[in-house]
């Protein structure tokens, strides 16, 4: 893991309150798996903000983040300009173990701002010859992003809560539309969604990317624990996760 000042090389709006931020720095070379995250320091805020790595290019030393404005920290982040730098700690945690997913077909299920980490994951799997079907859920048409990018990788089902794009409803409502020819599913989104997904797909092997408020982001403070079913009884999302095998942790 590195603590580096990364240069902003792209920063643009993708959808309502949703921004793409491309950073340049050595840290890009340390990324082991898609689904890892970086911990970003924003001036004036005491705690760092965890943001998933949406894409990365170790050859050009770039890391792409996609973030949504949820509060004052992410709002302040929107004001940073190309050429300025950001204090970034990472890459953190365990991502989706793409090299160990020996599947023919994988189902991707992303909810809202849970979509970004799944993008580089899907790309990587596709490169490895895995077929991809995706379900992407958003609140509304204006919140949707990366839909075309996922279409380039395979079949895509979109859901919106208000029906303004794709099917009306939640990601789980689209599950019946998907042909049952996948061996693995990979999901990221709010915990309630992950739980609903895991409950509906008990027979598939799944990987879930979780979120929790973090202190250190490196495994030292025990802020981000989730109950697990192993002997130790807990996992730290920041270093044992954020990606876990479905069933490994207790989704409350």
């Amino acid at each position: 893991m590195k603590n580096e000042r990364m240069i902003i090389v792209r920063h643009e709006k993708l959808a309502r309150d949703t921004h793409l931020l491309m950073l340049e720095g050595d840290l890009a070379r340390d990324i082991a798996d898609p689904g890892q995250f970086v911990h970003v320091k924003i001036d004036g805020f005491y705690l760092r903000r965890p943001i998933s790595i949406a894409d990365y290019d170790p050859l050009n030393d770039t890391v792409t983040l996609i973030y949504k404005v949820m509060g004052n920290g992410t709002k302040a982040l929107t004001r940073f300009q190309i050429g300025e730098n950001l204090d970034v700690l990472g890459p953190g945690g365990q991502g989706f173990p793409t090299s160990q997913i020996h599947s023919e077909h994988v189902l991707i299920i992303g909810g809202g701002i849970g979509v970004p980490p799944l993008y580089s994951t899907a790309k990587k799997l596709k490169e490895n010859g895995v077929a991809i079907t995706s379900i992407l859920g958003f609140r509304s048409r204006e919140d949707a992003f990366l839909v075309d990018e996922f279409r380039a990788l395979g079949e895509v089902h979109v859901t919106t809560e208000d029906g303004s794009l794709g099917r009306s409803g939640r990601v789980t409502d689209a599950l019946p539309d998907v042909k049952d020819n996948y061996q693995h599913y990979l999901s990221c989104g709010p915990t309630v969604m992950l739980k609903a997904v895991a409950d509906l797909l008990p027979d598939k092997e799944g990987y879930l990317s979780m979120e929790e408020r973090m202190g250190c982001g490196i495994g030292a403070c025990f802020a981000c624990v989730v109950e697990s079913k192993d002997e130790k009884g807990y996992k730290r999302i920041c270093c044992d996760g954020p990606v876990f095998k479905a069933g490994e942790v207790v989704l409350a």
């Binding site: 893991m1 603590n3 005491y46 202190g215 495994g219 030292a220 624990v225 009884g233």
Partner: protein, 310 residues
Amino acid sequence: MNLSVNLPGLNLKNPVMPASGCFAFGKEFAQFYDLSTLGAVIMKAATKERRFGNGTPRVAETASGMLNAIGLQNPGVESIISDEIPFLKNHHLPIIANVAGSTVEEYVEVAEKISPHVDAIELNISCPNVKEGGVQFGTDPVLAKEVTRHVVEVSHVPVYVKLSPNVTDVVEMALAAEDAGASGISMINTLTGMRIDPKTRKPVIANGTGGLSGAAIKPISIRMIHQVYQAVSIPIIGMGGIETAEDVLEYLLAGASAVAIGSANFKNPFICKEIIEELPAVLARYGFSNIMQAIGGAHVEKVETPVLRS
């Protein structure tokens, strides 16, 4: 500049150590720098049995600080002795065990078990985040005295009592610890606080309240150390909001003989190392030729030399 400070049980090559609960047992920070750089290390709290701790969210951000209610999650004293201390021993630096409990018996048992493996004990009678016990030991001088006395009796190493700032009279608490045989005082633990999320209309932290740490609390800690320094004759390990080498100097001047850095490790994982590196220059800049001159410096009446502001 020689930064070494000798305290009961602790020969510190410099006065800077990570604070309990903010550094776990060192492994995570060892990837960033060589832990032997540190003056010492204070481990995460140890209880008799393994504890899972509180529900999540366990942290919340505040202005220049944070709240936490981890709830003393730890693998239990025996696992700490067998699985964690050996790693730290490899780094050849003084190790301080933070001992917690809900009854005098638990404190005593943990201290008895862990003390042969460490250089000092930090007796945590001040964790605001556990419901069963712990807190009242930190706010009632009679109970504080009792638990300290028993722990001092069984401990193989010097005992530093960690005080809570959530009291009317911190001097009374420090005196109780000193009377009971403590070799030093560690101060301060976190101030009890709360944040409410207007979206959910509930406290942000699952536990309701949490402990406030970070730069926000530094003035309170400095005030309390300044008070306690005048009242006791045992050394003080100072902490609360330290982020720079100047902050360390402010603590030394107030009366701390050494300092611990907590939450700032989360902002900058290199903070302890960087402060240790900067400290000699900062001491020199303010006219100190060794570290001992600074300790308690705010208490000595100095001649003022007003200079032309230019």
